[in-house]
Symmetry: C2
Subunit: 282 residues, 2 copies
C-alpha cells in the first residue's frame, strides 16, 4: 500500500503546478498524474458534466492503484470532492480546502498586523469555481469572521498556456480582474486555479501598483502540497517505504504532443515521456 503512488488528476496541464509543489515537499513519493486533455477546460462546464468527467478520471487512477487521490483542479474540487470521497476508500484531497485554509491564515495575519478587522478574501478562478461558491463555503466552515469575494478570470488560462507571462497584456488582464476584488475590499488574493501560479509575479506586481503596498497572495497548489505532506507526517496517508528514486508517470487523454511541450514550464523539471490513454465514460 505505502509503495503505491499518489494519484493526481486535472482537466489538463494546470495540475502540474500541484505535482511540482508535491515533488518539492515530498521528493520520495511516487506520483501518477492524469490530465484529461481531450476535454480540457472544465472551468466553463456545468457541475453535472464536471462530476461525470471527474468520476472517469478517478476511475482510471484507482484502477491503476494509488494510496490517495489529489484533485489538482479547482473546478473539480469545487463540485466533486464530497462525491469522490463518498465513493472511494482512500484519502481524497481537493485544492479548495487547503487554499481556503491558507487564505484564512493570511487574512488573520493581516488583521493581527494592522490591529483592525480581517480583510476580505478575494478569489480569482474559472467560471465553474466562482459560480460554485466553494471557497466561500470552505472559508465559512473554518470561521464565520472571514468574507470571500470571487472574480472569474477567463483570459488567464489561455495566457499561461501560451506562455505570455510578462508585458502589457498579462498586466492589463490581471489588472482587470484584480480591480473589482480590491474595490470590494479584498486584502488577500487566492490564486484559485492551478494555472495561475505561473502569473504570480504579475499578480504581485499589479497588486503593489493598485494599492501601493504588498498584498498577500495565496497559492492553492502550494497549500495542497503542504496538506498532503502533513497527512503523510500524521500517518493518514502511508509514507513510501523505499525512499529512493520517486518515479513520476504522466497520462493524458488527447495526443501528448502539446502537453509535453509546455509541461516543463509547469513542472519546473524535465518532463518524463507522456502516455495517452482512453477514458471510458462512467
Amino acid at each position: 500500500m505505502s509503495s503505491l503512488p499518489l494519484g493526481v488528476f486535472d482537466s489538463g496541464l494546470g495540475g502540474l503546478t500541484v505535482v511540482h509543489a508535491l515533488r518539492e515537499a515530498l521528493p520520495h513519493e511516487p506520483i501518477i498524474y492524469l490530465g484529461d486533455t481531450a476535454r480540457v477546460p472544465y472551468g466553463t462546464r456545468s457541475a453535472s458534466t464536471v462530476i461525470r468527467y471527474a468520476r472517469a478520471c478517478a476511475g482510471v487512477l484507482t484502477e491503476r492503484g494509488i494510496k490517495a487521490l489529489v484533485i489538482a483542479c479547482n473546478t473539480v474540487s469545487a463540485v466533486a470532492v464530497d462525491m469522490l470521497r463518498a465513493e472511494l476508500d482512500m484519502p481524497v484531497i481537493g485544492v479548495v480546502h487547503p487554499g481556503a485554509h491558507a487564505a484564512v491564515s493570511a487574512a488573520q495575519a493581516e488583521a493581527d498586523r494592522t490591529g483592525g478587522p480581517p480583510p476580505k478574501i478575494g478569489v480569482l478562478g474559472t467560471a465553474g469555481t466562482i459560480r460554485s461558491g466553494a471557497y466561500s463555503r470552505h472559508v465559512q466552515q473554518l470561521s464565520t469572521r472571514f468574507e470571500v469575494v470571487g472574480q472569474t478570470a477567463p483570459l488567464l488560462v489561455p495566457l499561461v498556456e501560451e506562455g505570455w507571462l510578462t508585458g502589457e497584456v498579462p498586466r492589463l488582464a490581471v489588472r482587470r480582474y484584480l480591480e473589482p476584488l480590491l474595490e470590494a475590499g479584498a486584502g488577500v488574493i487566492v490564486l484559485g486555479c492551478t494555472h495561475y501560479p505561473l502569473l504570480r509575479p504579475v499578480v504581485e506586481e499589479v497588486l503593489v501598483e493598485l494599492t501601493g503596498h504588498a498584498v498577500p497572495v495565496v497559492d492553492s497548489a502550494l497549500a495542497t502540497a503542504h496538506t498532503v505532506r502533513d497527512m503523510i507526517a500524521q500517518g493518514t496517508i502511508p509514507v513510501v517505504k523505499a525512499a529512493r528514486g520517486a518515479p513520476l508517470e504522466l497520462l493524458v487523454t488527447d495526443l501528448p504532443g502539446g502537453f509535453q511541450a509546455v509541461a516543463d514550464l509547469f513542472l519546473g523539471e524535465h518532463t518524463p515521456e507522456v502516455k495517452q490513454i482512453d477514458l471510458v465514460m462512467s
Copy 2:
C-alpha cells in the same frame, strides 16, 4: 426534402456567426444548429479526437433530418470535411474552402490594383486549423500562384467569449498575431475561426496602424454563407418551399445557460430557447 432545415454545427458558440450570415443571405431557410459546448474548444485537440467529435455531431443532425450539413468550425473543416462527405449522402460544406476561395479573390484583386504579384494570404486560426495546413491546401487547389502563411491566435477566442472586443488588450493581442503575418509578406488576412468576425473592427484598425493603409480582411463565416446561397441558387441544395417564418433551432451538449447569455452577440438577433441534448459517442 426541401422543407428540411440546413444543419449547422460547431464546437460551441462561434458557428453562430455562420448562422447569422446564413440568415441574412437566406432568410427563408430553416436552420438547426448544434454547439458541442460540453467539449468546446476543439481548436487545441488532435485531428483524431476532432474527427471523432465531428462524426458524433453530424450524427445528431442527420438523425433529426437535414438537407445539407454546414461545418461552421474551421478546426473541423480543416480535418473532417472529406470524411463526412464520404460518409453522408448530402452536400457537406466546410468553412475553409469558401474562406480560401474568397482569400484568393481578394489577393488577385490586390495584384490587379497594384499591378504587381499577388500578396501572400495570412491566416489567423486555432492551433488545430493552422497545424492542419488546410487553408494552404485549399488555396493551392485553386491556384499555385498564391502563398499562405498561418498564425495561431489562442487568446482571441477567450477574448471574444468574454466580450472584451475593444481597448488595449484585444488591440495588443491582435497586434501580436498580425505582426508576424505582415512580416512574412501577408497582404490579405483571413479570419480563420468563426469567433474572429466579432474582432474584425480591431483587426482592421490594427492593420491600418501597422501598414499605414487598409488591408483586405476575409471572413470565412460570410464566405461560407455565400457558398450555401449559391448552392441553393444552382439547385445543389433544394430551396425551401414554404417561404415564410424560417425557424431556428439551437441545441447544445452542456447546460444552455452560458450559451444563451452570449448567443445574441454572435447571432445579431434575439436567441430562441436553447435545448440541451446528450451526445452519444460513435
